[in-house]
């Protein structure tokens, strides 16, 4: 019924940011730079899943922000 996009804005800085982006890329995210900040997108990985993964790698929640966008598929009221 819905499509989704999980977008991670990396707030960490320096090598920490690059490492975090690398971890996201390995998880299947597409990483790009927007306005001087690393942004990672995935349409298959859900927010809870990636957050658990980043925590298991030792990244604190404050080092990134998660945006989730759902969009209704065709035909739903």
């Amino acid at each position: 019924m819905v499509d989704h996009l999980t977008r991670i804005f990396v707030d960490a800085e320096g090598d920490r940011a690059s490492d975090l982006a690398g971890a996201l890329a390995l998880r299947g995210f597409t990483v790009a730079t927007a306005s001087g900040r690393l942004v990672a997108d995935s349409t298959t990985v859900e927010a809870g899943e990636v957050k658990g993964h980043l925590r298991s790698l030792g990244y604190a929640d404050r080092e990134y922000r998660v945006h989730v966008e759902y969009a209704r598929r065709w035909g739903f009221l």
Partner: protein
């Protein structure tokens, strides 16, 4: 996926809201210009309204009075919608073919819905359009090119912006705060009822509870999507919440107008109740349209669009904050940041078009003398009301054709029970507020 999934992240010119606003405001400006430049007759001829009829020859003579009118109406919207389809990335050719058939259906159901006998049985255009769509959509496999024209959200947004042109801004200013007060009482109570039933009674995840609560209390599927995203609910939870909204919204299209008539409610009060207790905009317009009185549509719009839809962004921020501070188990260190930018990001942009249309027409009326004002109301606002009616008819047909009951059955009893608790709170509370607490205000809306 990229384009459809990231709808809220698309540039402004690739969003459905933008084009719904452009097309509707373009119509408002065009009709107003035509009025001042002496082209009112061409507008009246294009915005065809089918009169109530009881004998076939009366309908035939009404249609043959200006045989080119349906073609002009069709051409106008086909050009506008197909142009938007190209920019939005839909297949314009398939869309145009599908819209042609949808338009033909709309002529048939509008003609039938104007029949005196069917009107007596309360089978007016909104219900007929829904019934035709539901029966055919569930019984026949619809061709892909036709499905591409079934854009419920797009048509209802065009209709809502046109609605703004027929609702003076002074009414929005007067009744708006009241609508916001009534909507807030009901939305907070219903959200809390569904959320606590889901989490405390039925042991569902808090994010799932919040998504169900939003669908049942704020603005239906749009709210389930916005709040589901804000609190990072699972995709499957958002889908179940959408199923709940659609099931109850379709049921309420029939139940609320029926109950309003049975209880002898005045049109304005019935519209306010529907605006408080219906779950989706498109479904609500169908239910309010079934009352068969313009006052019901006005009070419905005030309650639903001004009172409820506008605040989905505020709800999103609150729920996002709760999500990262309360519901996020295993929070590693300090919680994530939640920005107030969420309010604007989730704001339904078509509401700006609705307010702009209302403000524009109010300013036009205020700047001309009363005789010209009366003429403007008849020759410009009248046709805009008729065009709005056609946009809503395409909406109702699209709801019917796209409501596939077999696709709405994949949910467990617990989310259904939690949502039903919300319905049991929302409907009587909305009735009491509309008929007792705020009745005099709704009766005053003309």
């Amino acid at each position: 996926m990229a384009t459809s999934s990231a709808a809220a992240l698309l540039p402004w010119h690739r969003r459905e809201d933008t084009w719904a606003v452009f097309i509707a405001l373009g119509l408002v400006l065009g009709v107003t210009l035509a009025f001042f430049l002496g082209g009112g007759r061409a507008v009246s001829a294009t915005a065809i309204a089918i009169p109530t009829w009881s004998e076939g020859h009366k309908l035939a003579s009404a249609l043959s009075a200006n045989p080119f009118a349906p073609l002009a109406l069709f051409g106008l919207f086909l050009a506008a919608f197909s142009g938007a389809a190209m920019v939005l990335g839909w297949s314009a050719g398939r869309y145009a073919a599908g819209f042609s058939l949808l338009f033909a259906f709309s002529i048939v159901v509008t003609a039938l819905g104007s029949n005196a006998f069917l009107k007596e049985w309360q089978l007016e255009t909104p219900l007929l359009a829904l019934a035709v769509g539901i029966v055919l959509g569930n019984a026949v496999r619809l061709p892909g090119w036709f499905q591409s024209a079934l854009r419920t959200e797009f048509y209802v947004k065009v209709g809502i912006v046109l609605m703004g042109a027929t609702l003076p801004f002074s009414i929005i200013l007067q009744a708006g705060p009241l609508a916001i007060a009534q909507a807030t009482i009901v939305a907070v109570t219903t959200f809390a009822a569904i959320y606590f039933a889901a989490t405390r009674l039925f042991g569902l995840d808090p994010r799932f509870g919040a998504t169900l609560g939003a669908g049942g209390s704020i603005c239906g599927v749009s709210a389930a999507i916005a709040i589901g995203g804000a609190c990072r609910a699972e995709k499957s939870h958002v889908s179940v919440a959408i199923s709940m909204v659609i099931l109850w919204a379709v049921a309420m299209i029939f139940a609320l107008p029926y109950a309003s008539r049975l209880l002898g409610l005045a049109p304005g009060v019935a519209g306010a109740w529907i605006g408080t207790s219906e779950f989706a905009d498109a479904a609500g317009f169908a239910a309010a349209g079934t009352i068969g009185d313009e006052r019901a549509i006005k009070t419905f719009t005030l309650m639903k669009v001004v009172g409820r839809d506008m605040f989905v962004g505020v709800w999103a921020v609150v729920v996002a904050y709760l999500s990262v501070t309360r519901w996020d188990r295993g929070n590693a260190g300090a919680a994530e940041k939640v920005g107030l930018g969420e309010i604007w990001r989730r704001f339904p942009r078509f509401i700006l078009g609705f307010l702009a249309a209302s403000l524009f027409v109010t300013v036009v009326l205020a700047s001309i003398d009363s005789t010209s004002g009366t003429q403007y109301a008849k020759e410009a606002i009248g046709p805009l009301k008729t065009l709005r009616g056609w946009a809503f008819t395409w909406t109702f047909l699209s709801i019917g054709f796209t409501t596939r009951f077999r696709e709405l059955t994949r949910f467990g009893w617990r989310p259904f029970a939690a949502f039903t608790v919300g319905v049991l709170v929302n409907v009587p509370l909305g009735y009491w507020l509309s008929t007792s607490v705020f009745e005099s205000y709704w009766l005053a809306v003309k």
